[in-house]
Amino acid sequence: MTCAEFQQVLPEMLEGDRNTEHAAHLASCSACSDLISDLKAISEAARQLRALDEPSPRVWNSLEIELRREGLIRQPQREPALVPSRARRPWAWMVPVAAVLLVGFGIIVYQRGSDQQAEMAKNQAPVAPAVAVLPASNVSPSHRSDDDRQLLEAVGTRSPETRAQYAVDLNHVNAYIQDAEQSAQSDPNDEDAQQSLLNAYDQRAMLYQMALDRSLP
């Protein structure tokens, strides 16, 4: 058997379909033997990658809770089972659809935000460069309060205590942002103020993420 003939039957070989002729060629030819080893390593790595791409159960759970809340799915009538599998999720086809919708919604929001920013930039006097580069500093307090109100309404459906706790935390975070913004505006070269502004927005983002994470009540 030549190397060319051997390579023609590689796919079958990799699937385990191997006869004595193949084995004899492999034993005598180091090039083909190395090729088989490499292909097996690549195949194994690809399998590992596929496994890593699988979203965590938390993602599935959040989607399921949201879809159930929307009435799109109902609680399955089954004995509690432990292993989550795609077969157990008849609504799994909705995930890519939901993802596409979310991406579309994100693009619309982004474009609208960009338009608003451009409009604001036209109307506003130029600001100090160091402040202008901060990503969230153009979110006005009124926008923040609207967002906060909606967030508190959302968490308020869980319990009044949860709502109260989030309200207190939001007040803390917004006060932090306000102080950091004032400091950054009064001295655009103040690195500590710039860093604090980023930290304050980081806290705000964290708070929103935790509040809206449906797998956390």
Binding site: R47, Q48, A51, L52, E54, S56, P57, R58, W60, N61, Q75, P80, A81, L82, V83, P84, Q165, V168, D169, H172, V173, A175, Y176, D179, A180, S183, N189, D190, E191, D192, Q195, S196, N199, A200, D202, Q203, M206, L207, M210, S215, L216, P217
Partner: protein, 282 residues
């Protein structure tokens, strides 16, 4: 006799209700065989998660479920193990509680999240990521790893973290760092206080900041630091004699100080808007 009967009934009722609760409680144990440096994640709504090191290449999970209103979704994808407390209809903070105890290989990376239960990880040298809303966090004996903690409320304690890349963000949780050192230690609090007790290592960057929370840093006399401390509206105190250094801001006595100690190997920045800052001598 009648009183005795009444007492006996009461005791019986208590025993019976306890028995019912115990009967509803379920203990489950899972085992996963993993390779080197596995990733283990636990997402729990109500209840604690505790992770300890194990010697074998195996993840062992012991879970106590309080009722049948919660189940555990578990899965293994290659070298990753995921566990999730899955609340069913009618679940609440009491009957939806699950307490986890995990034994993982010491090189495992763990990702733990819980809304209200305590999170604890110890004895690992893989990355540790902990996240929770009203959550007590206790991390100890971690080396050569990233330790990332995010909480809204609840105290956070880190003890004996060596060569760590540490990032902590909390809104109102008090944060205690005891013997924490590494190339990067960043703590960002809002109203909670920050207490650091350690030597600031050798050659790291330490940035502790708050909005209104006080910051106390305690260090030995031989600490090798280049330090800047500033509070916009709060007071600042320093127990060490520092060598003066240049700062990009005007140093006002009582609200800021800056200087170096020994070989100034580590950079330390303490910043607050209205919290008090105190650099203490151990």
């Amino acid at each position: 006799m009648q009183r005795l009967n009444g007492g006996a009934k009461l005791v019986s009722a208590v025993v019976l209700s306890g028995a019912v609760l115990l009967a509803a409680e379920t203990r489950k144990e899972f085992h996963f065989t993993v390779g080197a440096r596995p990733t283990v994640s636990v997402t729990n709504q109500y209840g604690s998660v505790s992770v300890k090191p194990a010697t074998a290449n195996q993840v062992t999970v012991t879970a106590i479920l309080r009722s049948d209103k919660v189940e555990i979704d578990k899965g293994q994808s290659g070298n990753r193990v995921d566990l999730l407390s899955h609340l069913l209809d009618g679940a609440n903070a009491e009957n939806g509680r699950v307490d986890y105890e995990l034994a993982v290989p010491s090189d495992a990376s763990v990702i733990l999240s819980s809304t209200s239960g305590p999170l604890r990880a110890e004895g690992l040298h893989g990355d540790v990521t902990l996240e929770g809303a009203n959550t007590n966090v206790d991390v100890r004996e971690i080396s050569d790893a990233h330790v990332h903690v995010k909480t809204l409320n609840g105290p956070i304690t880190l003890t004996n973290i060596r060569d760590g890349h540490v990032e902590i963000t909390s809104v109102s949780g008090n944060i205690t760092l005891h013997s924490v050192s590494g190339p990067h230690v960043q703590v960002n609090s809002n109203s909670g206080w920050i207490r650091y007790d350690g030597d600031f290592g050798y050659g790291g960057e330490y940035y502790l900041s708050s909005h209104t929370g006080d910051i106390d840093a305690t260090a030995p006399q031989d600490a090798s630091i280049d330090i800047t401390a500033r509070s916009v509206r709060g007071k600042v105190e320093n127990d060490f004699p520092l060598q003066p250094k240049h700062t990009p801001f005007v140093v006002k006595a009582g609200s800021a100080f800056a200087g170096t100690m020994n070989r100034a190997a580590s950079s330390v920045k303490l910043f607050s808007f209205s919290g008090k800052i105190h650099l203490k001598k151990r």
